[in-house]
């Protein structure tokens, strides 16, 4: 916890946990993405390239594509 982070009561924490899951579940996401209960988030059907360079999700091609103007 950072020095600035507030200490939550058990009741507050429980409430936030419910809200967190609900917000993640209802969040906007590309249609092809799949819900991960383990990570509580929507995830692309294929992971992005693992080369440390930026990629954008392109839903029409259901693939990760290069970021515009980035010098690959």
């Amino acid at each position: 916890m950072t020095p600035m982070m507030p200490v939550l009561t058990p009741e507050q924490l429980a409430e936030y946990e419910i809200e967190t899951r609900a917000n993640a579940l209802t969040a906007h996401h590309p249609a092809s993405w799949l819900w991960s209960e383990a990570d509580l988030t929507w995830a692309a059907p294929t992971p992005p390239p693992n080369d440390g360079l930026p990629y954008l999700w392109d839903e029409p091609s259901v693939a990760w594509v290069h970021f515009p103007d980035y010098p690959y």
Binding site: T2, Y16, T20, T41, G52, P54, L56
Partner: protein
């Protein structure tokens, strides 16, 4: 690719269609909140608007496109997140969008180029892990995957376009 004069024209277009406004958003008031306050082009801060998105603090925000903004990442009360919220040119904050990249808080963001933005640095919830990685934001507000970091990993920093 473009001539110098055309680039100048693009910069001129970007500066003239911007709304001249700003926005504060989210935070912690004893509980995490999704409150926003618009800032007019004369610097007057508006009263609270209560957002449709999830509550968060220790996030970052930047302008993108020519007249929009994006809030992203932060802490939602339980953990660090990579969620983002787009802001329209009328200051309306969208509901949450599923995040891309490493969830973190205490990061910074800024606009760059003529119409893009970048989130960078930050740490995990316990600050056990600090990051120097960055995430680019396209001119349509889509966040890219992590770009390998450069420089000292740290949180609690700030950023600005210039």
């Amino acid at each position: 690719m473009f001539s110098a004069s055309f680039k100048q024209f693009l910069t001129f277009v970007a500066s003239t269609v911007a709304t001249g406004q700003a926005i504060f958003g989210f935070g912690y008031v004893g509980i995490y909140v999704a409150i926003t306050n618009l800032v007019s082009n004369t610097g007057v801060v508006s009263t609270n608007t209560y957002g449709a998105g999830g509550v968060r603090a220790y996030l970052a925000a930047a302008g993108y496109g020519t007249d929009k903004a994006i809030f992203g990442y932060g802490v939602d009360g339980v953990s660090v997140v990579s969620m983002t919220n787009l802001v329209s040119n009328t200051g309306v904050v969208s509901t949450d969008t599923t995040g891309v990249g490493t969830a973190r808080s205490g990061l910074a963001a800024a606009g760059y180029g003529t119409d893009k933005a970048i989130f960078g640095y930050g740490g995990d919830y316990s600050l056990t892990n600090l990051y120097s990685l960055t995430n680019l934001v396209s001119n349509t507000g889509v966040v890219a995957t992590d770009t390998t970091g450069v420089g000292q990993a740290r949180s609690g920093l700030a950023a600005a376009g210039f």
